[in-house]
């Protein structure tokens, strides 16, 4: 199917039905991708984007886990924080990118910050519900077997929350990646988003597409990695639930 699409793309642009200036030419796009990887200057940009993604993901996840657990287990904190969480979530956070650039500079941290705001809410809501949805029978059983509050947290709430987090892992990693690239796009000195931005400035549509291809490839790789981790850590789940 991908091949058919490429053929169609090449056919349409080579015969000038679709102007190549706007739609690019697949052969030239592939040539650019090849050039990047062979000459090797893609690596530092890719590395930057991936580091930003990883940091955004880890920090967002830890924060989401901590706040989610705290609010799910404390009724008062939850009622107090609820309207603020809702407000923050409703805000289109991508708008914050330039603000973060001002606060954190053009280095990686402004991109990480954007990614964190995107990842945090996904993880937070999943943890919150994961804790709230713990089966009361399992809870009562653990209490009858003598579990203290801390043991309940460790053996019941945390595993339940983590399984919910994993079910949203693909989205969360995707979001971290988006945060990194969009952050770069809106102001950076390195990274694949930056490369795309530069190419757009020069009206080099082929490079833009090349950048998009590379990003898509990375996103697929990340997704695959998540699936591997998921399979290992969620083997206690019946498979149709994954």
């Amino acid at each position: 199917m991908a091949l058919a699409f490429f053929m169609l793309w090449w056919g349409l642009t080579a015969s000038k039905i679709l102007p190549p200036f706007f739609f690019g030419e697949p052969l030239k796009v592939m040539a650019r991708v090849g050039e990047w990887f062979i000459v090797g200057d893609i690596w530092q940009h890719l590395g930057v984007t991936l580091i930003e993604t990883l940091l955004a993901f880890v920090i967002g996840m830890l924060l989401g886990l901590a706040v989610g657990l705290w609010l799910a287990l404390s009724a008062t904190a939850s009622t107090l924080a609820d309207p603020y969480i809702k407000a923050f979530n409703a805000m289109p956070r991508v708008i914050l990118a330039p603000i973060f650039a001002v606060w954190f500079g053009l280095g990686i941290w402004s991109k990480v910050a954007l990614g964190v705001t995107l990842v945090f809410f996904i993880i937070f809501f999943n943890v919150y519900h994961g804790v709230r949805e713990v089966s009361p029978v399992v809870l009562a059983n653990a209490r009858m077997l003598g579990a203290s509050r801390r043991q309940l947290l460790r053996h019941i709430y945390l595993p339940s929350a983590t399984s919910w987090v994993f079910s949203s892992l693909h989205t969360a990693v995707g979001m971290a990646f988006v945060g990194a690239v969009v952050g770069e796009y809106l102001g950076a000195a390195r990274g694949v988003g930056y490369l795309i931005l530069q190419a757009e400035g020069a009206f080099d549509i082929n490079t833009v597409f090349a950048g998009i291809l590379v990003l898509t490839g990375c996103a697929l790789l990340l997704d695959w990695g998540v699936t591997l981790v998921e399979r290992r850590l969620l083997k206690w789940r019946p498979s149709h639930q994954l």
Binding site: V137, V138, A140, M144, G146, A147, K235, R237, P238
Partner: protein, 267 residues
């Protein structure tokens, strides 16, 4: 013989869920007791409040009136001397069968080597050594119940509270489990409070059967000592004349309540 569990004029009232309803008194003025080493079954129509009584005995629910005593001492918080076998699936889904069985010991701080040994011992006792590393979703209903039994018994509770533990199983597995329970109980006579709506099960297993009235305001309306000899096989004991006699006696009392209970649900 001392009393393991004592209910003295227990009432449990649930507040209404919205303003138009009146409070629901599930249990009214109930006095019953379980002697040490005695196997007592409580039977009653569906929805009469049997589980409520059990939760009070476990300390999961506080009574609105009356006192609960455990081995003579008043019960304030969770009943630490009791083990509970639930009707629904209560195993931790993210732990293996072995980890579930050893869970109580882990919580009590028992060293890992001893926990492992006890776990092996109990898994063997309930015939699940081959399934030790499986997760609950990989176990059949009967196997899950057996893990549940081992899980409850490994911490050696003095009192065993059982809420229709076998009602979700098919008849054959149920009889196997009932026999297994008796075998385990025979060696180490705990005080048991067993809830069921199955009169045959109650008579086969117990030393005494208590009949509850239909809800609301459930209370005991009959007590029947079961003088069948032990050890018993649940499949065979049902065919003996004395069993049939007892069954008839108790069913006379229970039947009226069951019909009352149905009249309420269909009204």
């Amino acid at each position: 013989m001392s009393l393991a569990l004592q209910f003295d004029k227990i009432s449990v009232t649930f507040p209404p869920s919205n303003r138009s309803e009146t409070p629901w008194r599930a249990v009214a003025d109930t006095t019953l007791s379980v002697a040490e080493g005695e196997f007592v079954s409580v039977v009653g129509p569906t929805g009469c409040g049997k589980s409520t009584l059990l939760n009070v005995a476990a300390g999961l629910l506080a009574p609105s009136a009356g006192a609960v005593r455990v081995f003579g001492e008043p019960l304030t918080d969770l009943n630490r001397r009791a083990g509970y076998m639930f009707q629904a699936d209560a195993l931790l889904p993210w732990k293996t069968a072995a980890e579930n069985v050893g869970f109580g010991l882990l919580l009590a701080g028992v060293p890992p080597t001893e926990t492992a040994e006890q776990t092996r011992h109990w898994l063997a006792k309930v015939g699940l050594t081959h399934a030790a590393d499986r997760y609950p979703h990989q176990l059949s209903g009967g196997m899950k119940k057996r893990v549940g039994m081992a899980q409850a018994l490994i911490v050696d509770p003095k009192i065993l509270l059982m809420d229709e533990p076998f009602s979700a199983l098919d008849v054959q597995t149920r009889q196997l489990m009932e026999n297994e329970l008796l075998a385990l109980w025979q060696n180490d006579r705990k005080s048991v409070l067993f809830i069921t709506h199955d009169l045959e099960e109650a008579i086969s297993l117990s030393d005494r059967v208590i009949v509850l009235s239909a809800g609301p305001d459930t209370h005991p309306i009959g007590e029947f000592p079961i003088d069948l000899p032990r050890p018993r096989d649940v499949a065979e004991i049902r065919l003996t004349p004395r069993f049939v006699e007892l069954h008839e006696q108790i069913w006379q009392v229970l039947r009226g309540e069951v019909l009352k209970g149905y009249a309420q649900t269909t009204a």
